[in-house]
């Protein structure tokens, strides 16, 4: 899988592209943390719109990034969540800990 980073007026948009399974999850967390550390954004948003597949391995990636953001005191949210990925997220109760935003299509 791939990750693309984009600065959106202070917010770091992290686009997850492809399939996020246990294999892909291995290096992804560190890669995102590294970008957060060097870019110092005001907030982070993980975008699932281009993710074709995600299993429970994605949950650990999300919770890990939430921890990173909490440590440096910035908010984090999720966007572009749909289909079975949405079901996996809701099943885990992750929405209690991290905000899920609808797509803001005008800004895309």
């Amino acid at each position: 899988m791939e990750v693309a980073f984009e600065n959106r007026g202070g917010e770091l948009l992290v686009e997850l592209i492809g399939e996020l399974d246990h294999h892909a999850a291995k290096g992804i967390g560190q890669k995102i943390d590294f970008e957060i550390c060097i870019r110092r954004p005001a907030s982070v948003c993980l975008d699932f719109g281009k993710l074709a597949f995600m299993d429970s391995s994605g949950l650990a990636v999300i919770m890990g990034r939430r921890r990173t953001c909490m440590e440096i005191g910035i908010p984090i949210c999720l966007t572009g969540v749909s289909g079975s990925i949405r079901k996996v997220l809701l099943m885990s109760g992750i929405q209690k800990y991290i905000k899920m935003k609808e797509y803001n299509y005008e800004s895309r």
Partner: protein
């Protein structure tokens, strides 16, 4: 009941093989003209089972994972079997958010996802001998009027 189609594969317990198992089940499901949701649900359930064999069954060692995908009418049956260390307490393992993993890498949601995304889930295991997970899901397909 006699299967209409059977695929048997065995893969080494390397994480790069997780995708193969998903492709195999998707290929069999595709014969039933499934909805996008049905395909991703069964793929997710299979991915969880195979990941469990890799992470928990074999851990730091490499062993074989045996995957059988059967189509019986509109039903897909997937058996994922390993000869790894097995599960001591299956009931506990099936509880949401329970995990024996300590690195924060696993969420403990694997069995909950398998259960939710299939119609039937059977788990049998013998400590020291291995684990067998059987998933069944009926594919109603795009023409289903429900």
């Amino acid at each position: 009941m006699k299967a209409d189609n059977v695929i048997r594969m065995q893969v080494e317990s390397r994480s790069c093989n997780e995708g193969f198992a998903r492709v195999a089940v998707a290929a069999v499901a595709a014969q039933l003209d499934p909805t996008l949701e049905e395909v991703s649900e069964i793929k997710t359930a299979v991915s969880e089972a195979v990941t469990n064999s890799i992470v928990h069954g074999y851990g730091d060692t490499i062993g074989m994972i045996y995957i059988t995908v059967k189509r019986i009418g509109r039903k897909i049956q997937v058996v994922i079997r390993d000869k790894g260390k097995g599960i001591e307490d299956i009931e506990r393992a099936r509880e949401p958010l329970y995990t024996t993993s300590t690195g924060g890498e696993r969420s403990g949601m694997g069995f909950t996802i398998m259960e939710t995304f299939s119609d039937r889930l059977r788990v049998s295991s013998r400590p020291g001998r291995g684990t067998r997970v059987t998933l069944e899901k009926t594919i109603y397909g795009k023409d289903d009027p429900r």
